[in-house]
C-alpha cells in the first residue's frame, strides 16, 4: 500500500527510522540471530560447548509425527482465539460507539481486564474453571454439564481459547473504538437520513471505513495467538491432556525454556518464523487489497 503523495528528502527518512532500527538491531537482531544460529548446533545450555550438526535439529523435529500434529492444534487454536477476540470486541465497540452517556465508564470497564497481570489471571481462571475448586465448574456440575478439561481435550481447548481471547478482547475493543470514533459523523447522519437502519449503516459505512483497523487487528491477533499464548497454556493445561493443547509455540517454550534443548527449540523457532512470515505476507498481499484507506 502506498501513498500517492510523498515528501522528497534524502536523509530525513533514515534519520526518522534510526531510533527504532537501532533499538531493534541491538536488542532484537543481535540476540535473535544468536538464538537462531543454535538451530544448527547441539549446544549445552551453559554455553560451554556447542557442536555444529547442520540440519540435524530440523530433521529431528520434522520427522516427529507429534510435532506435525501440533500444526493442526495451532491452526485451530489460532483461528478460534482470533475470531472470538475480534468478534466480541467489534460487537462491544459498536455498542459503545453509540452510547453517549457513560461511554467513558463502559470503556474503562472493558479495558479493565487487560490490566490484570498474567500470573494472576492464570490463578483466577483456576479459581473459576478448574474442576476441583472452580466456582463456575461447581455450578456447571450442579446443572449437570460435564466439564473436565483435565482429561477431555476439547474442554481443555475451550479453556485455553477463552482465557487467551479474554485479554485480547480489551485490546481489540480499544482500537476498534478508536477507529469508529474517527468515522465522520456526517456520513452516518447522511445515511440515517436516507433511511438506512443501524445494522445497514454499520455494515455499509462504518465497517468498510474501519478496514485499516480491522486489518491491523487481524494481523496482530494472529501473531498474538501464535506467539504470546504459551504462558496461558503453561499455567492452565501444560499442553495437555495428552497433547490436546500443545501448540507450536508452547512446544518451543517447553523444549527450550523449560527443557533446555536449545538446538531443537531454535529449529522450531525458525520453522515458526517461516510459517508466520508467509502468513503475514499473504495477508499483506491479498487481504490488504480489500482494505479501504
Amino acid at each position: 500500500m502506498e501513498k500517492r503523495v510523498s515528501f522528497n528528502n534524502r536523509a530525513l527518512p533514515y534519520l526518522l527510522l534510526f531510533p527504532q532500527l537501532a533499538v531493534t538491531a541491538v536488542f532484537f537482531f543481535w540476540p535473535a540471530g544468536q538464538a537462531l544460529y543454535q538451530s544448527f548446533l547441539r549446544p549445552d545450555p551453559f554455553g560451554l560447548s556447542a557442536r555444529f550438526v547442520g540440519l540435524e535439529n530440523f530433521r529431528y523435529i520434522l520427522t516427529d509425527p507429534l510435532y506435525l500434529q501440533s500444526f493442526a492444534t495451532t491452526a485451530i487454536f489460532t483461528s478460534l482465539v482470533t475470531f472470538v477476540a475480534m468478534a466480541v470486541a467489534l460487537f462491544l465497540a459498536a455498542m459503545a460507539d453509540q452510547v453517549i452517556k457513560g461511554s467513558g465508564v463502559y470503556r474503562t470497564l472493558i479495558v479493565w481486564p487487560y490490566a490484570v497481570a498474567p500470573a494472576v489471571a492464570g490463578v483466577m481462571w483456576m479459581f473459576m474453571l478448574q474442576p476441583s475448586i472452580g466456582v463456575i465448574a461447581f455450578y456447571m456440575k450442579q446443572l449437570g454439564i460435564t466439564w473436565n478439561p483435565l482429561l477431555d481435550g476439547q474442554d481443555a481447548m475451550l479453556l485455553v481459547v477463552l482465557a487467551s481471547a479474554w485479554k485480547q478482547v480489551s485490546y481489540n475493543f480499544l482500537f476498534f473504538l478508536a477507529g469508529m470514533q474517527a468515522v465522520p459523523r456526517s456520513l452516518i447522519e447522511a445515511a440515517a437520513i436516507d433511511g438506512a437502519g443501524r445494522w445497514r449503516r454499520f455494515w455499509t459505512i462504518i465497517f468498510p471505513l474501519l478496514s485499516p483497523t480491522t486489518f491491523f487487528l487481524l494481523v496482530i491477533n494472529i501473531v498474538y495467538a501464535f506467539f504470546e499464548t504459551f504462558g496461558v497454556i503453561h499455567t492452565m493445561t501444560s499442553g495437555g491432556p495428552g497433547r490436546a493443547t500443545t501448540t507450536l509455540v508452547y512446544k518451543v517454550y517447553a523444549d527450550g525454556f523449560v527443557g533446555q534443548d536449545l538446538g531443537s527449540s531454535a529449529a522450531q523457532s525458525v520453522i515458526l518464523m517461516v510459517v508466520v512470515s508467509v502468513l503475514t505476507v499473504i495477508q499483506f498481499r491479498y487481504i490488504e487489497r480489500r482494505v479501504h484507506y
Binding site: 557442536r51 476441583s132 482429561l151 501444560s238 534443548d261
Partner: protein
C-alpha cells in the same frame, strides 16, 4: 498533565540510573537465587537473616527468581554473561543438566575441601543426599528441600462410610478393597494423586527395587535408557486405569493440582509429597492421617526405600576463593541440626542430616504431629540399592511431560496402559539420546 510533560518525566526518569550496589562495603556479598515463593520464601529469608546476624564477614542476599525453570534460566543467562550467583537452587529433574555443566559448577565436596570447612558426608542421610552424590560418594550439590511421597487419608470420610478411621492400608490390594468400600458407601472420589510420574512410576520402581532406567537409573552414565515398562509398572498403571474406569480414582491434574480435591474433603485418599503436610494441615477441616506409601506384597523384599523430589543448592563456578569460604560457611549453617530441624518441622521437607532427625525426635514434634515422621522412616528403613538411590536423567522435565501426556490418555481410556508406557519409553529415550549428544 499533557503528553509532553509525561514524555519529559519519563525521559528524566529513564536517563541512565544504574542502581549502585552500595551494600556494607566491608562485608563479602554472597548471592543466592532461589525459587521459593509464598510462605516458603519467607522461611528461607529467615534462615538467611539468621545467618547474616550470626557473623559479620558475609552478607547473604537471597533473591527470588521465579519458578524452578525460570530460576534455572536466570542462572544460565547469568552464567553466560558472567553474572552468575554463588548459589542456585535447582529442582531435582535439573540434576543431570547441572552435573553435565562441569565448567559451570563447583561440586559441594570440592568447595568444602578447598574452603577448609569441616564436612562429613556421612552425617547426611544417605537416602536424601544420595540423590545428589556420585557413585564414588562425592556430594555434588546440597539437598535443600527434599520430600518423598506418602499416603494421606481423610479420616472423617472413612468414618462416614462406616470404616474404622484409623485404617491404614499398607499394600495396593488393601487400598483397592478400601476404595471399593468407600465408593459403595457414597464417597464420590475415593482416591486421587499428585505428581503421577514421580509417585506412580519413579517411586513405584525404587520402592520395589526395580530399575526405572538402565545404568543405575542414569547414575552410571548418560547412555541410560528408560525401562519402566516392566511387569510391576504395567500391573500398577493397569490397576490405576481400572480404578479410573470404575470411578475409584479421579485424576486431578499434573503436578500437585489435585491438592484441592483432597484438602476440600472431596477425595478420601491422596498420594502426595510429604511436603504437602503443611498445606493439608492448614486447609483441611477434617481429621486426617498420614501413612506410608502402599506397596505390592508379591514383590520380594518390598518395600525398599522411596526416593526424594524437591531441589538442591548448586554452587556456581567463577567466584573468588574468599567468597567461596563464605558459601561453605552458609552451607554448613544450613546443614546444622537446629536449622534443619526447624525447616523440617515448618515445612514437612525431610531433614538432611541424622542429627536434625534426632533433634526433632527429642523435641517431641512427632508425637504432637503424628505422621510427620512417616516419610523419613519410609526412606531410611533399608539401605538404598542402585535402583533406589534416585534418578539422574537428562531432559528429565520433558520426560515427565511425556509421561504425563501418555498417562492422561490412559486414564481417559484412549490408550492401553501397556501401550502408554511403551510409547512414553520410546519418546523418552529419544530425549535421552539428544541429551547424551549435547553433553558428549
Amino acid at each position: 498533565m499533557s503528553l509532553r510533560s509525561i514524555t519529559m518525566a519519563a525521559a528524566v526518569a529513564t536517563a541512565f540510573v544504574p542502581i549502585s550496589g552500595a551494600m556494607a562495603q566491608d562485608k563479602t556479598e554472597i548471592q543466592w537465587w532461589h525459587a521459593m515463593s509464598g510462605r516458603l520464601g519467607d522461611l528461607l529469608q529467615q534462615q538467611v537473616e539468621q545467618f547474616n546476624e550470626s557473623q559479620d564477614e558475609y552478607e547473604v542476599v537471597a533473591t527470588y527468581k521465579g519458578t524452578y525453570s525460570e530460576t534455572l534460566n536466570a542462572g544460565i543467562a547469568g552464567f553466560r554473561a558472567g553474572e552468575q550467583p554463588h548459589i542456585m537452587q535447582v529442582y531435582e529433574v535439573g540434576t543431570a543438566t547441572m552435573m553435565a555443566a562441569k565448567g559451570a559448577i563447583k561440586p559441594v565436596y570440592q568447595l568444602m575441601e578447598e574452603a577448609n570447612e569441616p564436612f562429613d558426608p556421612n552425617a547426611y542421610l544417605a537416602a536424601v543426599a544420595g540423590y545428589y552424590t556420585t557413585t564414588d560418594g562425592e556430594m555434588l550439590s546440597l539437598p535443600y528441600n527434599s520430600s518423598t511421597p506418602v499416603l494421606y487419608i481423610n479420616q472423617q470420610a472413612l468414618e462416614e462410610a462406616g470404616v474404622d478411621p484409623d485404617t491404614k492400608p499398607e499394600t495396593w490390594p488393601e487400598v483397592e478393597e478400601l476404595l471399593v468400600e468407600l465408593k459403595e458407601n457414597g464417597v464420590e472420589c475415593p482416591f486421587t494423586t499428585a505428581w503421577q510420574s514421580w509417585i506412580h512410576l519413579e517411586n513405584l520402581s525404587s520402592y520395589h527395587n526395580q530399575p526405572f532406567a538402565t545404568e543405575e537409573n542414569g547414575f552410571a552414565g548418560v547412555d541410560t535408557e528408560l525401562v519402566f515398562n516392566g511387569e510391576l509398572q504395567n500391573k500398577h498403571i493397569a490397576m490405576l486405569a481400572d480404578w479410573a474406569d470404575r470411578g475409584l480414582f479421579t485424576y486431578g491434574g499434573r503436578g500437585s493440582d489435585a491438592g484441592p480435591l483432597f484438602r476440600s474433603g472431596e477425595c478420601a485418599l491422596y498420594t502426595e509429597s510429604s511436603a504437602g503436610y503443611a498445606g493439608v494441615k492448614a486447609e483441611a477441616e477434617f481429621p486426617f492421617s498420614v501413612s506410608s506409601l502402599p506397596y505390592w506384597p508379591d514383590v520380594e523384599g518390598a518395600p525398599y526405600n522411596t526416593i526424594i523430589g524437591g531441589a538442591s543448592l548448586w554452587v556456581m563456578s567463577g567466584h573468588d576463593d574468599a567468597e567461596y569460604v563464605g558459601v561453605a560457611k552458609l552451607l554448613s549453617f544450613l546443614s546444622s541440626p537446629e536449622i534443619q530441624a526447624q525447616w523440617h518441622q515448618d515445612t514437612g521437607y525431610l531433614p538432611i542430616t541424622n542429627a536434625a532427625y534426632e533433634l526433632t525426635k527429642e523435641s517431641g514434634f512427632y508425637e504432637e504431629n503424628p505422621g510427620t515422621d512417616i516419610a523419613i522412616i519410609q526412606m531410611t528403613g533399608k539401605e538404598p540399592t542402585p535402583n533406589s538411590k534416585g534418578l539422574r536423567l537428562g531432559s528429565f522435565d520433558q520426560i515427565r511431560a511425556v509421561i504425563n501426556e501418555e498417562l492422561e490418555m490412559v486414564w481417559q481410556g484412549d490408550k492401553d496402559p501397556s501401550a502408554g508406557l511403551d510409547e512414553a519409553i520410546s519418546r523418552g529415550n529419544q530425549l535421552l539420546r539428544r541429551f547424551e549428544q549435547s553433553v558428549e
